[in-house]
Symmetry: C2
């Protein structure tokens, strides 16, 4: 990975001006006046693994190859060390095909699904506990100075969120630097695109920090653990099962990270309190993500 | 439905003090100080339709019978006029069984799923378009005075959201009155509980308003249309496909409803601007839902 390619620090960042990602829609406001607003576009993307159709996802469509790889990885249909022969995206028919040298049988995994959270695509329960119990996340450090630098960068980077709202963001970070910033209608898509990016470019998770705008549910914890990342940060809140799984996995779980504030409910031993809080700004109405995306 | 049973107007409202719904978790804050916080509990609920296991959902678990019925209705596995023999919930094994006199075959519907939005359980595409195209939503009125009364009531009603955050709310309303307020980790669960309530108590949707804290995605539009409700309101934003489906179905779609502001992107002809805006309060930091639930 060439982490110094871009001057602003990002390797991948949102392109809110891409005309395919949002469209202008006419409406009226509270005074009855006509108004135009930008809304995020969702389009179907059908994923094949070799000759088998897996799923049709609704996505903004900006990184279909990463999304395809990340989906398969996070669903346990592709191993982290798997060989992938090709990933072909056909924009005419909204299809992406991932090919491997050896076909695998995962039909059983598809058959019985557990909706793992408020916003789940469903993941087989047994597999899921295997992931959590089999993991050993590395020792790592989270300096609070990095944390505040990251949230400041992420909140001030132009994004589809700021342009059109109703979208989630996930960011792969190293120390105080935001590296890969993906957005999508669903936070699981945004997270899967990062997983796909890491797989494609052989990026290790051990020295990274994962930031999400979404809640810290069981599903986000599992995805982070699958990526081998020891630290998960969100501006949103927690669910009890998310906290329980994070503690089982030894994941550092930080939520409600806004302005000066944050709350760590798991893995607090990785935190180094090096930031003088007197120099951190509180979040104001102006700074807040507008809540236009209140959910996933 | 006895709509005047409760003095405060609600027939069902959140019970944030129910000890089963949230738990206290220890953590540390940004200063390194030990702190306790309440987080919402998710628990598995396995749903059977007759002898067939359908799905295991993660839910806060407060209305398993309504959730079961609503899930089946909104997935098209139970018709709106279906006869249900019994709904049995067994809290010991977290199982709920819905029984009908006639067994139906819906296996094909389960086989091919389209994840319909950012936060979808998946709904078969074809069925979905049938729902939208076959519908004729009634003429109805949305007075802006009702809208402001509803958002004020909802934002000031004690809820699990206010207690523990990271949760969604959906509210069934009639005119300016909030009737049934359900919460759950996922907004689709909250919506399904309302659908189940309406089915059980034979509540008509035609003169109702549906309020959600979540984004106005295709999935929320479809659920609202299935319930026969002509007006959908949210404090969150829109997705393009949500808007498109709402327009096809003739649904009134109102988003970003905060303080004085709102935006209607479909069905604006139902809106009656009877509220003098000088008497509506702007939303302040204090009033905002804290965004602790940023996603679904």
């Amino acid at each position: 990975m060439r982490e110094t390619d871009l001057l602003d620090g990002f390797l991948v960042r949102p392109d809110p001006l891409d005309p395919r990602l949002s469209e202008s829609v006419a409406g009226i406001d509270q005074t009855g006046a006509k108004t135009e607003t930008r809304v995020v576009v969702e389009r179907p993307l059908t994923l094949y693994l070799n000759s088998r159709e897996i799923v049709t996802m609704m996505t903004i469509g900006d990184h279909p190859e990463y999304l395809a790889l990340g989906y398969l990885l996070n669903q346990g249909m592709l191993e982290a060390n798997a060989e992938v022969t090709s990933v072909d995206y056909d924009p005419e028919i909204d299809v992406v095909v991932v090919r491997t040298p050896v076909e695998t049988d995962f039909e059983d995994k598809l058959r019985k699904k557990t909706l793992t959270s408020g916003c789940a695509q469903g993941t087989a329960f047994g597999d899921l506990m295997e992931v959590i119990e089999g993991v050993e996340l590395p020792r790592a450090e989270l300096r609070t100075s990095w944390l505040y630098a990251l949230t400041h960068t992420i909140n001030s980077t132009p994004s589809l969120y700021l342009e059109a709202g109703a979208i989630h963001g996930c960011v792969l970070c190293k120390h105080g630097r935001a590296l890969v910033y993906m957005e999508d209608v669903g936070r699981h898509n945004a997270a899967d695109k990062i997983a796909g990016y890491m797989f494609k470019h052989r990026v290790e998770g051990g020295d990274k920090i994962f930031y999400t705008t979404g809640r810290l549910t069981s599903e986000m914890v599992i995805k982070t653990v699958r990526m081998g990342i020891p630290i998960l940060v969100s501006r949103s809140g927690f669910t009890a099962w998310g906290v329980e799984l994070a503690r089982k996995a030894g994941l550092t779980l930080i939520g409600r990270a806004r302005g000066k504030r944050f709350l760590a409910l798991s893995g607090a031993e990785r935190i180094v309190f090096d930031q003088n809080l007197a120099y951190v700004e509180e979040e104001t109405m102006k700074h807040r993500r507008k809540g236009a995306t209140h959910d996933g």
